[in-house]
Point group: C2
C-alpha cells in the first residue's frame, strides 16, 4: 500500500492507510494505547489495544510504520484519528535521550540541542526556525527573479581576499595557498558587467577569532548586485521592496509564531526611514547612547532601531553615508565630504545588511587602493574586468542567519544556524 | 525620467524613453548612426544623426544611457526602434578587446573567454549557459518544495571527510586543521532524521589532481535525501519525475537553443530504463566496449547511453546495483550477493547523478566501516545521530555543472562553470 502523508489523510471513515513517522507522544493505558505519530506533513493520533502494540516495545522517537483505519473524531485535530491495524518499528531511538521532540527546549542548553541536531530539528520550535530560513531563501530568490536578476554560482576558493587580506582562512591548494572567499563581492560585480543583475546565495568565510552572539566564521550570504545605479538610494529602495514582499510572505505562513516569538508581526519595510550617518551619531548622542564617531556600536544599532520605532512605528532604519574610511576600498564616495554611498540596514536592533554603490572605473579603484596604502598589483585580475564595459552599479549582502534570527527574535545567530562554526565549533 | 527596460518599450510612436545598456553593434554611416543597445532584457536599434553621436566617441561594449523617441519600425525586432535624442557614456570599455558580445566564441579559446568573463557572459551563447544553469537551480528547488522537501544550509568546514580522508582540502582553522566538505552527505542524512525530506544546493570540494573534462575541484552539488525509502527504486523514481519536470521547463524556455546546441530537445526521463550493473557489464561486453568489472569507464557510460537511445529512444539510463566495494561505506546492500542499493544516472554519455539507499542503523554502519578497515571512532559524531530515530532513507546528488553541460551539449564541464577551479585554475 502507498504511504499516505499525515496531512493528506482524508476523513472518510473506514479507509485503510499506511503512515510513517516518529512517535511524538505515547500513552499506554490498561485499556488502550495512544500514539501520536509525526511526519514531515503533520501529526495524527493512533489508537491501539495494548495487545496490538505491547510486543513492539514502542518508545518515544522510535520510527514507526503503521497500517490503520481512518475514524472520524471531532475532538482530534483534523477531525480524524487512526485505529491501529498493524505496525512495524523501522528504527529504534536510544533508550536515553536528553530531550524529546515534545520537549520545551527553552531549558535545554544550545550545546545539547546542537549535539542532537536531528532531535532538536524534530521539535516544533527548532524545526520552524529552519522552515522560516528556507522560506527566506526562497523568497529572496523569487523576488529577484521577478526583477530580472539571474542567479549565479561563484567560486569560494580564491587567490586573494576582497578586502585586503585580514581574517582570511588559508587552504592548502595543491602546491600553493588559496583562501576561502569572504564575500562574492568581486564576482558579483563582474556578473553585473555580464548579466546586469545577479544574485547569489552561498557561504562566505571570516576568520573571526571573537565569539559574539552576532558572528560566525561561516555564514550564508544573500548577495545581489545590479547595474545602472548611481547612488545608494536605488539599492535601499530595492531592499525595501524585497523585504516588504518577503515579510508579507513570512507573516502569511508563519505570522502567529513570529508574533509569539518576537513580539510582533514583521513590519512593512517600505516605511523604514533613511537616516544619514552623522544624523544617527547626533541622535544617539542626544539619546545618551555611546557609539563611536566612525561606525555604529551594537548599542548604537539597538538605539537607532528604538528611535525609528518611536518615530515611524517600524523597528528598522537604513543608515547611509558612513565615513569612506570605515568602508571597503570599492565604496563610492557620497558627495565630497568624505562620506560613502554605503548603507547598513538595522532591523530589530541588529545590522542585517551592508550595501551601497561601488566604484566602477579602474582609475577610481586604483586611486582608492593607493590612498589606503593597498597594493594595486594584488588586485590586477579584478581591476582588468573594469575595462570590459562596467556600468555604474551597486548591491547589498544580507546575512541569512542574522535575518532569520531577527525575524524570529532569537538572541543568538547560532540558533539560526544548523551547524554553527566559530573558533570553538567545528563539529558536528 | 525612469529607466525603461528594452523589453518593456511599448510601440506607441512618439513616446520618450530612457534606456541603458551596452553597445552590442555599431554602424556609423555618412547620413546616420545605428546603435544596437543591449540590456538584461533584450536589444533595440537606436538611430541617430552623425552630429548627435560623433562627440560621444562611441565604440563597441561602451556602457551608454540614451534618451530617445519610440518609432514604429515593422522590419525591426519587436516592431519598434528608437530615435536618438540625447546620450551619455556611463563607462568606457577598453580600446582593444579580444572579442565582443557579438562575436562567435567558437573560435575563442576557453582560457581567453574565462580571462574576460564579464564580456563572454555578455554574448548570447555563454550568457545562455548560465541562464539555463540558473533555471536548473530554480527548477530543482521548486520541484522538491512541491514534494515537501525543506531546503537546508549545512557547513562546508568539517573535522573529517565523509569518505575516509582521501582527496580532502585542508584548511588552517585557527589552531587546528579543518577540511572542505566533499559532500553534505552526513548532514543531509541528519536532516532526514529531523525534517524527513531535505535538499541543499551548495559547493563541494574534491582535491582531484587530474584535470579531465568532467572534474573540478569545486562544484555545486544538487543534493536531496528523504526518509522512508527501503531500496534504490523510490529514489530513482523521484529523480525521473524531478528531471522530467525540469526538462519540460527547460524545453519550454530554452528549447530551440537546446536542440540547436545538443542536437535534440531534452527527453522525457520517465522513459529512461533501469538496468542492473551486471547486465550493463554484459551489454557493454556484447557491444565490444571496454569497461572494468567493478565500475563504469567513461567509454562504458557513453556506450550505455547509446544502447538506451537505440532501445528506448532516450539517451539516459539508471544503472543500479553497483558492487558494494565500489561504493562508500554508507551504501545499503541490495540483496545478499555483494551489490549495493546504489545507482548512477547516465545522461547523454555522462554520469550526472549518484544516489541510493543508505544504511540507517549504527550497528550496520559500524560493521561496514570495520569491514573496510576504517576507524569507527573517527565517525563517532556522525554515528551518534543514528540513535535519535533515523528512518530508512536514501537520496542522490546531481552535479550542477555536469547537468548544465549535458543539457546544452557542452564538451567540457568548465564551460558550465563561471569560475572553474582545478589544479591549474585558482583565478579569476
Amino acid at each position: 500500500m502507498e504511504r499516505t502523508f499525515i496531512e493528506e489523510i482524508t476523513t472518510s471513515p473506514g479507509q485503510e492507510v499506511r503512515v510513517c513517522g516518529w512517535i511524538h507522544r505515547l500513552r499506554m493505558l490498561k485499556t488502550a494505547a495512544f500514539i501520536v505519530l509525526t511526519d514531515c506533513s503533520g501529526s495524527v493520533q493512533i489508537v491501539a489495544t495494548p495487545a496490538q502494540v505491547t510486543s513492539l516495545g514502542l518508545k518515544l522517537e522510535d520510527v514507526l510504520e503503521v497500517t490503520a483505519l481512518v475514524r472520524a473524531e471531532p475532538r482530534a485535530s483534523g477531525g480524524r484519528e487512526l485505529q491501529f491495524v498493524s505496525g512495524r518499528v523501522l528504527s529504534r531511538s536510544a533508550n536515553l535521550l536528553p530531550f524529546t521532540s515534545a520537549s520545551n527546549l527553552a531549558s535545554v542548553p544550545t550545546e545539547v540541542q546542537l549535539a542532537h541536531r536531528p532531535l532538536s530539528l524534530r521539535t516544533e520550535s527548532v524545526g520552524e526556525v529552519f522552515r522560516v530560513q528556507a522560506a527566506i531563501l526562497e523568497g529572496f530568490r523569487a523576488f529577484l527573479r521577478s526583477e530580472r536578476f539571474t542567479e549565479i554560482v561563484t567560486s569560494k576558493l580564491v587567490a586573494t581576499g576582497t578586502e585586503g587580506g585580514s581574517n582570511l582562512f588559508e587552504v592548502k591548494y595543491f602546491e600553493r595557498a588559496a583562501y576561502l572567499a569572504q564575500s562574492p563581492q568581486f564576482y558579483k560585480e563582474h556578473g553585473v558587467a555580464g548579466l546586469e543583475r545577479v544574485f547569489e546565495t552561498g557561504h562566505v568565510y571570516r576568520a573571526e577569532p571573537h565569539a559574539t552572539s552576532r558572528h560566525l566564521t561561516e555564514y550564508c550570504s544573500l548577495d545581489l548586485e545590479l547595474g545602472f545605479v548611481e547612488s545608494a538610494e536605488p539599492v535601499m529602495e530595492l531592499e525595501r521592496r524585497l523585504l516588504t514582499t518577503l515579510f508579507q510572505t513570512l507573516n502569511q505562513r508563519f505570522g502567529d509564531s513570529i508574533r509569539k516569538r518576537s513580539g510582533a508581526f514583521l513590519p512593512e519595510l517600505t516605511r523604514a526611514p533613511i537616516w544619514e550617518f552623522p544624523e544617527c551619531v547626533e541622535r544617539l548622542r542626544r539619546a545618551g547612547i555611546a557609539s563611536p564617531e566612525s561606525d555604529l556600536s551594537p548599542e548604537g544599532e539597538r538605539g537607532l532601531c528604538t528611535l525609528a520605532e518611536q518615530e515611524r512605528g517600524v523597528p528598522a532604519v537604513f543608515v547611509v553615508g558612513f565615513p569612506l574610511a570605515a568602508r571597503p576600498f570599492y565604496a563610492h564616495p557620497r558627495g565630497t565630504s568624505g562620506a560613502a554611498q554605503s548603507f547598513d540596514l538595522l532591523f530589530r536592533g541588529l545590522e542585517i545588511t551592508t550595501g551601497g554603490q561601488r566604484l566602477h572605473t579602474r582609475e577610481a579603484l586604483e586611486s582608492s587602493l593607493r590612498s589606503r596604502g593597498m597594493a594595486v598589483e594584488a588586485f590586477e585580475s579584478h581591476l582588468r574586468m573594469f575595462e570590459l564595459g562596467m556600468p555604474p552599479h551597486g548591491g547589498l549582502a544580507i546575512g541569512l542567519e542574522r535575518l532569520t534570527a531577527q525575524v524570529l527574535g532569537l538572541a543568538n545567530v547560532r540558533e539560526a544556524t544548523l551547524y554553527p562554526r566559530d573558533r570553538v565549533h567545528l563539529e558536528p
